[in-house]
Amino acid sequence: MLIIGERINGMFTDIGDALRNKDPKPLQYWAVKQEEGGAHYLDVNSGPAIPTEERVAAYEWMVKVIQEVSELPLVLDSTNYNAIEAGLKVCKRPAIINSCPVEQVKIERVFPMAIQYNAGLIGLTMDKQGIPKDAENRVAFAMELVAAADEYGLQMEDLFIDPLILPVNVAQEHAPEVLESLRQVKMLANPAPRTVLGLSNVSQKAQDRSLINRTFLAMAISSGLDAAIMNANDDELVDVAATCQILLNRSIYADSYLKVFRAR
């Protein structure tokens, strides 16, 4: 189970301000803090804080300052592929591109880029029309992403399918469809593509966010989830990820399993 720390995102005020002021400290603070919490990867997203024309330079800067304090590999999160490419050029370790929907123009841009920079790639089960409601159409999109990986020569383990979870308070019927999608995506190829979710979406503007997040995480892992972009500093959430590893027999039990999961 890969934990991708979500916190370095311009949507958060402190990161937004840091990006505007070119102050590396908040980014570096969260890089270290998320690693301590148990993150294996760090998501890097400028959000709307940076005007479009400055994004390329911003991603290069973000990657550089984060790598000054952390050895963790990065997940470059943007819809601006030139910005992602600028980031990839300065990444010291193989990164993950976040993300590519099922749109031919974007597939043609992003898949070769993943190969060129030895990066993983998050593929979204959606197209221009948006996110499908049911598992069937999500899986159909996943199949197109699997076919694209095959066509461009991306290793199946480097393709992360994101079946796109929506907030439970406004799109409740999506959650079971996402779980079913996770199950079916695992049957699309051998070896199977990996799967990922932007976990915190499930609880947007809902009550008891942490409880909803960790309950859904356990359900999703049990359905075939391999990675989650999530709050790496929610200790109870990380505990759930560790416990799922044990209950699915992916890691050998020891009394100190919670500590071992974070120590790796």
């Binding site: 890691s251 050998i252 039990y253 020891a254 009394d255 100190s256 071992v260 120590a263 790796r264």
Partner: protein, 320 residues
């Protein structure tokens, strides 16, 4: 139709552990022995490296052992002299290491003093140049006293000392750390306890490359399949990057195999089992070659004839 060889890709490998120390390293051994380092399942040379072959340690006890005559006859008149016995194991039987066991320290038996044990360790160190594995007796409290004295007397030699258990590990871990030895972590055929014990030892500050796992082997016909599957699982864990299971493993073959009735009962008593001379050697050799297939790095053996067979088996398996 072409055939593609299926090769597994592993995330990690078994850690390497060095036993013994040469004069430059603060000891008196003529050479060190390195075990572990495997990056694939045992002897699958086509998909990974096995940089160090498994080694054989021969068992020497501080008192004349009550072993069957088929074995003691081969060892001869050195049984009452641990230093001479150890030398014979190295010079004549080709032992890679000496496993020195202090049965005589047992309070129920001879109750040998810790100082006396330490003296014998020094004598054996003087007699042979190979690294030593030293275990005390089976009484936990006495074992702690004995091993503390031995660890101090042989400081710098990087002995492999045994053994730490889940209920009794602190004093021997401290002894290993202070006097720079490597430690055997023994668990009772239980991979969860095995992993937890390694965590506890490591938390005291002993590095992972100073620990050897003893999964508690069982003899052929008496539960060997339990240790076989546990060792296989530990190896798969190590290759999948489980750092707390990535230590090389030691198997106490000699004592377990020779406890089995099949290894010592005569053909007169059990005609169906055939000649004891062959059966006895093979019982120990087959137990050893069984655990070699699941990643044993150090085999502790007793019978010189069985050692010869297993050494040949290792040489064959190591030739690619």
């Amino acid at each position: 139709m072409s055939v593609t060889l299926v090769k597994e890709r592993y995330a990690s490998k078994v850690g390497e552990v060095v036993l013994g120390a040469t004069p430059e390293q603060g000891g008196t051994r003529t050479a060190t022995v390195t075990v572990g380092g495997d990056s694939a399942l045992p002897f699958l040379h086509f998909e990974g490296q096995m940089p160090n072959r498994p080694v054989i340690a021969m068992e020497v006890t501080d008192i004349v052992p009550a072993w069957q005559e088929l074995i003691t006859r081969q060892i001869g008149d050195v049984l009452n002299d641990p230093a001479a016995w150890a030398k014979k194991c190295v010079d004549e039987f080709g032992a890679d290491l000496i496993f020195l066991k202090f049965d005589g320290a047992d309070p129920e038996g001879e109750n040998r003093s810790p100082e006396d044990c330490a003296r014998i360790v020094r004598e054996v160190l003087a007699a042979v140049g190979v690294p030593l594995i030293v275990e005390g007796c089976d009484d936990p409290a006495k074992n702690n006293e004995v091993m503390t004295a031995i660890a101090e007397a042989a400081a710098g030699e990087n002995l492999l000392i045994g053994f730490a258990e889940q209920d009794n590990y602190k004093s021997i871990v401290a002894a290993a750390m202070v006097h720079k030895h490597t430690l055997i972590a023994r668990s009772p055929l239980d991979i969860n306890i095995c992993k937890q014990l390694n965590i506890l030892i490591n938390e005291m500050g002993l590095p992972l490359n100073k620990i050897i796992i003893d999964p508690t082997v069982a003899g052929l016909g008496f539960g060997i399949e339990y240790v076989y599957s546990i060792m296989e699982r530990a190896r798969l864990g190590a290759l999948a990057n489980d750092k707390m299971l990535s230590m090389p493993m030691i198997c106490n073959i000699g004592s377990e195999a020779n406890r089995c009735k099949e290894a010592y009962v005569s053909a007169e008593e059990y005609p169906g089992w055939g000649d004891l001379a062959d059966r006895s050697v093979l019982w120990e050799a087959v137990t050893a070659s069984g655990v070699l297939q699941v990643g044993a790095s150090i085999l502790v053996m007793r019978n010189p004839a069985a050692v010869r067979l297993v050494r040949k088996n290792i040489a064959d398996l190591m030739s690619e």
